[in-house]
Symmetry: D2
Subunit: 266 residues, 4 copies
């Protein structure tokens, strides 16, 4: 087997390390997001557990929890999404990854976000900016931001995010950032401030549930001088492969939100 060429040892590879966030998957199917710690801990819904045996073991290591065989993995982004605690409806993965793309967010990016909500989009941003990027997440509602902060902390990505409890209508504190993402009821009120915070070439994107909000956002993007303005929606259709054949799923989410984006050019 050939070694994959790689500039440096990738983060989050190799044996599981003490203190890392891990996903513990019991044989019956439930999964838990936990810190890999030495000794016994009391976990809600699990009882007393001991993960010591997994420290230094490879991914997929077997441990016994409450008498049942379980396995320990590094959590993937889909794992982190499924383990989020929600105060309100969180953004769907399809919309989150599309916003990441439309806003040009890549490893190393510095990104502003408002509002934090339950941290659903924050999680995607924190994951994709990577260890060398950073996210600043604004919300004026302390109770929402607490949920977001807890979710990011539990996901192990908390140190990539700075939370600011502030109304962004008073302006962003940063400038020269790569992207601004707005999941707000009235994003048009913040476009001027968002543009001021962007570097030339950077993107601003909005996420809103109604056509009225989308329309007003797009018109405001144009009025503020944004270029390459786009607007779209993503529909996800599940597919069922069963004994009797293949068909689309009967259940489908008919709507989540409309996406718009624009770019600040010099």
């Amino acid at each position: 087997m050939t070694e994959v060429p790689r500039p440096a040892p990738a983060p989050g590879r190799g044996p599981l390390l003490e203190g890392e966030r891990v996903l513990v998957r019991r044989k019956e199917g439930e999964s838990y997001l936990l810190a890999l710690q030495r000794g016994t801990t009391l976990i809600d819904g699990l009882g007393v557990i001991d993960l010591t045996a997994a420290i230094g073991a490879p991914e997929g290591a077997e441990v016994e929890i409450a008498g049942r065989p379980s396995r320990v993995y590094r959590p993937s982004l889909p794992d982190l999404v499924s383990q989020m605690r929600r105060r309100s409806q969180i953004i769907t993965p399809k919309d989150a990854v599309t916003l990441v793309y439309l806003a040009g967010v890549v490893p190393g990016s510095t990104v502003l976000e408002a509002g934090s909500g339950s941290g659903g989009l924050t999680l995607f941003l924190a994951e994709f900016v990577g260890p060398q990027g950073h996210v600043v997440s604004y919300d004026r509602r302390p109770e929402h931001q607490k949920v977001a902060r807890d979710n990011l902390q539990r996901s192990g990505l908390g140190d990539r995010v700075t939370f600011r409890e502030k109304d962004v209508r008073e302006g962003f504190e940063e400038q020269g950032v790569d992207a601004v993402l707005l999941d707000l009821p009235e994003p048009w009120e913040v476009l001027h401030a968002g543009r001021a915070a962007l570097r030339p070439g950077g993107y601003l994107a909005t996420y809103t549930p109604t056509y009225n909000q989308l329309e007003r956002s797009v018109r405001a993007l144009r009025e503020e001088g944004f270029q390459e303005v786009r607007s779209l929606e993503m529909l996800e259709r599940g597919l069922h492969v069963g004994e009797g054949g293949t068909r689309p799923e009967f259940d489908m989410l008919g709507h989540t939100g409309f996406l718009a984006s624009g770019r600040k050019m010099a």
Copy 2:
């Protein structure tokens, strides 16, 4: 203004550097992906240009090209996509980012891909694995791989990708990788090899145009012992905000491909 906290200076920020890939945008709208070099160069379709003035300047710096004012930016992922040269139909961004998500690809990931095609998915993978990740892209057709290789080189992400001219039905050369992505006519032939190359917890995802291929892929994923098997399609609907009001775009791509994914658990 507050400084954004950041572990280290992010790559690709600050003044434009000699040798970097840049996007030169002329006032009339056309854009060119070029290397930022000292002195004059002859560029197809542009004539003789001189980008010397942009070296050391901030993003958005003005230069004059063939007598017309132009601006120099670092290319975003959407820029790189729009600048790709296609040998065949390339994957749409909506499908590429969804595959990135389904396969758990994040900064630092090591990813295998087959086939390279024109490098459309390769570009997304190379971007999102970041400077500490790596992509190995297999294709047995030298003429396709050449296009993919050129596209990745032009995008400035070529050093994150190893190309292998090989039929993956003979197996992958790597193991312990985070994700395997298959854009092949008969992905089921490669699922066993793909599973062998994955680390525990890693994902394999397929992208195929017909239901027949999707069905066979999903059945094979189950037979090979993959878990968390999912299949879906993404539909993108553009929205038009015009003088007369807002409506979905009349033009829509009715179909691109079906996506399936599964996870290797110990």
Copy 3:
């Protein structure tokens, strides 16, 4: 006011007639499909009612039922659909009207249908063939056909339909008909018989839930010599106009069935 020119007094216009099927709508919203009869009747869920006052009255006449004001209307096709009793999932209106169109069903048409199911499609066919057309509905399962027969009788369109308790794989008893509609698990087994029953220029249409069934149906239509073969699906997306603006409904039926049609040409 000008009189609308009309070849003859339209059926089902003018004062409500004794014996007609009527929709009784109580002020609170529930509706009942009843025969307009003289004297008192005991109705499940309504108690003893007396509709005598509505006989000879115009549509919308007020009657009192169990002490509450109610109105009497001629039932519309949407009313009849909502009043159907279901043994199983019935066809959606969007699919039923599309099948009517694809199969060229118009007032005066003679149409064969298999199977009857709960009579969902039968109802649409009986309505649109009008008083001069006819529907023959086959089902080999007596318990299904009883439900269909009762539904058509309750709708007041029962005399436009002949039910045959028979397996259509043994052939249709009619020939020279205008259209054949198949809502069967294996429609391809019946295409030859269906073609034999059609007049030149007539259409056969199928309705099946899986891609596998659709594919096999379309291939069989071609092999049997049908022309103008088409296949498609219809998606209905509800729209919500609320205080806060307009957006697509969150709930959506992701799939019902695939439609295919072909035409017998000489």
Copy 4:
């Protein structure tokens, strides 16, 4: 073979009659909508033809046109749609049949329509109201109405339609009708007049391209006291069954129009 029970000989069945509208289909595929007349006629694009042999013959009768074998059929509704001459974009069949359903249009209905446009919706209404129903089609633009009138005449359904060259903002001339269909830029201006023209229990439906128009229509329907207000859109997705398997068509119409309907209750 059993005779299909039928109250009376259906119209448009039996041998082809002199004077009837027929579809002449040449072996190469083109079709022509013509009157079945004795003797020779000069037809644009066909040359001199003689259909005498088809008079009294059954459907599918063979005639020779310009030296090529051709067949004569009664035109189906899909045939009539494909033979329409368009001044502007005409309504798609999916929207036309859905409007027919939402508005409760059935054989025998009397229906008002505004505007006539090219007669696309008029054709569906004229077909489905049958020989005992009637359509009154308003348009204030003589040049549009001429196209609609010609299309209906060519289709053989012209005697089911009364055209009125009039602005419906001045009111409808009829009352007690079963349904009112509005394909106008500002349908809300006509809802009051439309409601006045309806019988109790009758439906009004609108068809508009933008969300803004839909929203205003729905709000106006509610303000005018309409009940059972619905709004939706229909998406048609073609399916391709080819050698290599089955998949949705790549081409898709992303948008046509939004539909809304309401009912006048006493």
